[in-house]
């Protein structure tokens, strides 16, 4: 490659810089396409996939670099393979800058058949930029006429299509004369004109060129492309071009972007998608423009200050008009320190929708609690969501990918501000009944988790009913996603409550009471809803551990509301959740349940103590029913895991109480202790391993050996294997009077 280039360099007085031509291995190690874009968030399978993709591209490139004679495509499977590799990678993610030199060289050198060259040229889609040097060297190939006219033409069209992707243009400008000389070719003339139109500067307008163009016009007639170039010349040098040109034309150049335009757009979109989650938030003001056709909806709005700026000449008038003093323009706002310095005279942008992608303005918004700011955002967002919603809107012009991105942006903004938008809430209520449960699923569920906590009484019919429909008719995975999102919702509500309790505690303690009890009802309604769908789902799906994990995860938040979030509300899981977890085949669920029951106990004990000491908060006393339920559950649990008395002592109506007669019919020996921590199906695995370690020679698996001192060792063994939930549960809820007798369940009742 090096030699060939120097050969060409001799032939033509061109300066070719080599600094951009890094070798391929360096490219592979370094940032693939755009170093910014794969900093984080690339899961390892993705990376591997990329690595193998890059490997095959590397092979293909080195093949094309070395390919010598005319190889027939039909007969050569190696060529076919490499060609397909280049094409598919180009269409997927675009080609790296280094690839252009190799591919342009081979496509224009005439070594391969025109069909191959055409396919190569058509797949030259840039992932980021195209090095100027590779374009310059391909122009030199054009001058030696090794390739056919069609390929030359295609190359010119490609050059026009990707013109904006070329990293520098100085040397290209130096080639102006060469391009100009191609005008004589009748076929190439329109495209050359377009290219010259892009390259022309004032200093390139010369009388001899004008004469040449006029000659051409005389020869070829009034062609729109010639007129375009002439009018550009006339604009730069009106004194040199004296002819009158006809009025405005609609199009000067035929669509020469040809086959590349769609490809470039897809690549660009895909590369944007792969960028790390939070990147758009922190890019500042430079945002990609939405490629919308409709004028009335723009999903991503660039930040711009109120439009007084373009009227500098009428400043006096404007001052009166907009009463603007020395305000700091939002476009200039780039850093956090700038925000701090100018916070007193910063104005919000002309369109509030633009704050969504600007973290600095979101910070500012957080400080300024002005109703009109929120109202402007509310209107804009509400209209945009409805207009762009792919399953609500009447006309089907919506772009699902774009809408998905928008929902994602809205969600990220909500996370950033730590509060939900009411326009978003209303949108969900309106659109959930029409939703197919599939389109933009994860985005919709994430937005659900940010529905604000309010005493809105219709939440059942607007949110829970449609969600329940999806829940019961969908896959296990979707069920888990819904539970996850409801857990997030509960957490967001609780966080919101804590913050508001803090900010209001000084001022309006009294006004709290009424609204507070309403809010408690709303939270309680959510927990009851999750309880009921969980019960049904466990029956429907036959108690899978996976589902149980998500259910118990929800209760890990719900069991701690009093102590962690200062919310005087505790709701026990229904029996349909409690018993499947207690009798689960999996130690993870059992351990989780133990932890949850331990936290319930801690919260209830704390509440009882507070009730006894502080008389004034008596209106938030937990109902006796909660204590009762807790006591029933704890009796069952202790009876199950510890005292082996569950079949007698469980008093819960849906509990495990059974007559001895019935139990004898099962023909299980030792049925009494069959759910204690040794025999419980979730624990037996540990018991076996423990026996193997404690009595390596004994192969009879005599579980009854685990008692007395060994029982304590066994407990230590379990704790050491990560059953921390079990540990805190046993340590808190079981009063072990003496080490020897393990049959005493002590003061567990609260």
């Amino acid at each position: 490659m090096q030699r060939r280039q120097s050969f060409k360099t001799q032939k033509q007085p061109l300066q070719v810089h080599h600094k951009n031509q890094t070798d391929l291995s360096a490219w592979r190690k370094g940032g693939r396409i755009d170093p910014e874009k794969n900093v984080q968030n690339n899961q390892s399978p993705n990376n591997q996939k990329n690595d193998s993709k890059q490997g095959s591209l590397e092979q293909a490139l080195s093949y094309f670099e070395k390919v010598q004679d005319r190889v027939s495509l039909k007969k050569n499977s190696v060529l076919q393979k490499h060609l397909t590799t280049v094409e598919s990678i180009a269409l997927q993610s675009g080609l790296p800058p280094e690839a252009f030199d190799v591919l342009l060289n081979v496509a224009l050198s005439g070594k391969l058949a025109d069909t191959v060259n055409t396919r190569l040229l058509k797949s030259l889609l840039p992932a980021s930029v195209i090095p100027e040097t590779s374009v310059v060297s391909s122009v030199s190939w054009l001058c030696v006429s090794k390739c056919s006219g069609n390929i030359q033409l295609l190359f010119l069209r490609w050059l026009i299509a990707v013109f904006d992707f070329i990293d520098h243009k100085e040397q290209l400008h130096a080639l102006y004369g060469f391009f100009f000389s191609f005008l004589q070719d009748e076929k190439m003339c329109p495209y050359v004109c377009h290219l010259l139109y892009l390259l022309t500067r004032k200093e390139t307008v010369k009388p001899f060129r004008i004469r040449r163009l006029l000659d051409l016009q005389a020869k070829m007639g009034m062609q729109s492309y010639l007129q375009a170039l002439l009018s550009l010349y006339k604009l730069y040098c009106p004194e040199l071009v004296t002819i009158t040109l006809p009025g405005k034309m609609k199009t000067y150049f035929k669509n020469s972007e040809g086959p590349w335009k769609a490809g470039i757009n897809t690549v660009r979109r895909r590369n944007q998608e792969n960028s790390p989650v939070f990147q758009p938030l922190f890019l500042g003001t430079a945002q990609p423009q939405s490629r919308k056709r409709k004028w009335n909806t723009q999903l991503i709005i660039p930040v711009s200050s109120t439009n007084t700026n373009n009227l500098e000449e009428d400043e006096k008038k404007n001052r009166v008009l907009y009463s603007m003093s020395e305000s700091f323009r939002v476009e200039q706002l780039q850093t956090f320190s700038q925000l701090l310095q100018n916070i007193h005279h910063l104005e919000f942008p002309s369109q509030m929708g633009s704050v969504l992608t600007n973290p600095l303005l979101l910070h500012y918004m957080n400080c300024i609690k002005d109703e009109s700011i929120y109202l402007r955002l509310y209107y804009w967002m509400g209209q945009t969501l409805q207009e762009e919603c792919t399953w609500c809107a009447v006309d089907n012009n919506q772009d699902e990918e774009e809408f998905k991105d928008f929902l994602e942006t809205v969600y990220k903004t909500e996370c950033f501000l730590q509060e939900g938008f009411s326009s978003c809430e209303e949108f969900l209520y309106k659109s959930l009944p029409l939703w197919d449960g599939f389109c933009c699923r994860s985005q919709i569920l994430r937005l659900v988790s940010w529905i604000p906590l309010s005493s809105f009484s219709e939440i059942k019919s607007h949110l829970y009913d449609p969600l329940a429909q999806f829940f019961f008719t969908s896959s296990l995975y979707f069920k888990c996603s819904i539970l996850e999102c409801l857990k997030e919702l509960l957490q967001n509500w609780l966080n919101w409550h804590v913050i508001h309790l803090d900010s209001e505690s000084d001022s309006q303690v009294h006004s709290l009471n009424t609204t507070h009890s309403e809010l408690l009802n709303v939270v309680a309604e959510l927990i009851h809803f999750v309880g009921s769908i969980s019960t049904l789902a466990l029956r429907l799906e036959n108690n899978p551990t996976f589902l149980l994990y998500f259910i118990l995860d929800f209760y890990e938040t719900a069991c701690d509301m009093y102590l962690r979030y200062n919310l005087p509300l505790l709701i026990m899981p229904p029996a349909g959740v409690f018993y499947p977890a207690l009798l689960s085949m999996d130690s993870v669920s059992l351990n989780q349940l133990c932890y949850i029951m331990y936290r319930y106990r801690t919260n209830l004990v704390a509440a009882k103590e507070n009730e006894l000491s502080k008389k004034e908060t008596v209106q938030f006393r937990f109902s006796n029913q909660t204590y009762q339920e807790y006591n029933q559950y704890i009796t069952a649990m202790v009876g199950c895991l510890w005292t082996s008395s569950v079949f007698q002592k469980d008093i819960h109506p849906q509990g495990l109480r059974m007559d001895d007669e019935l139990l004898k019919k099962t023909a299980v020996q030792e049925f009494k202790n069959s759910f204690n921590i040794v025999y419980h199906p979730a624990m037996m695995g540990y018991a076996v391993l423990f026996l193997q370690q404690a009595w390596p020679d004994d192969t009879t698996f005599n579980f009854s050996l685990i008692k007395g001192k060994k029982w304590n060792w066994y407990l230590e063994y379990l704790y050491a294997h990560g059953l921390k939930g079990l540990k805190v549960f046993i340590e808190s809820s079981i009063n072990r009077v003496s080490q020897a007798s393990h049959s005493k369940a002590g003061n567990v009742q609260v």
Binding site: W295, Q351, L375, W380, Q383
Partner: protein, 288 residues
Amino acid sequence: ENADPQRTAFLLRKQWTLYSVTPLYRFSNAHLRDYARLLSSFIAAEKQKGLAVEVGVELDIKVSVSSLPYLKGSDQDQAAILVQLSSRSPASPKNSEEKLIWSGWFCCVSGDDLSKNVPEDFTCLPLFLVNGAECYTSIVGSWFQKTFDCSFRRLAISPLILSWMAAMWTGCKVDKTASAMELVFSVPCLPQPLDISYAIHPEDAKALWDTVQKTPGEIIQEEVDVFMDCLYSHFHRHFRIHLSATKLVKVSTAIASAHCDGIIKFLQSQYLTGVLMLLTELAISQIE
């Protein structure tokens, strides 16, 4: 209810495309001339966008923004705002008269529901009506969106509302001999679009409506349903086609004509504000 026929004449017998608009932020009636100037430079800039050079002489577009204070329903309503674009031919710049190429107006007739709920900084003109090329709508609309932070959405009219319009307008008195009432239905799920036009003599329709309506000056949903069902069964008796299975797409009467795509034509100046009141209500429900 009684806008001057002279002053509203220019709004009649033109097709207006409907949009809903969210409240305008920091809009002031005192600066209409400045708005016209800003908008006109915005239009000039937009028209040059995408062209490296402008060749030839661009049509000179003049913008006027004015207030129509007589177009409102209640005292709380903002005065309607009229935006007009007219062109002067470049050939004879001075003497030739201007040609109106696009007009649009914002209005609010009895929109108290919305206007009483928004703070002072906002101006409620929820209904926007446009006559002219889409490219100008887009430029003017974008300018308003950018300047007053508002959002535009096309306002479609549902078949239910169309049937209300049919019933309401049937009951209205018109002086001169009125034209026929026409309902257009579109048959869904066909490979070829098929529209059914159903024309009724206005006096027949009025007679039917009078038997249906119980209290004059008041209309309820049941009455509208009965009215339409009567028309449907009459049609069925003659043509064996169930119109209830089709979609009502257009209603034209002597008062006005409305298309489900959100296009309206006013025909009687005395009923102008009445129709606008209904449309304002529709626009508000789309915003909220």
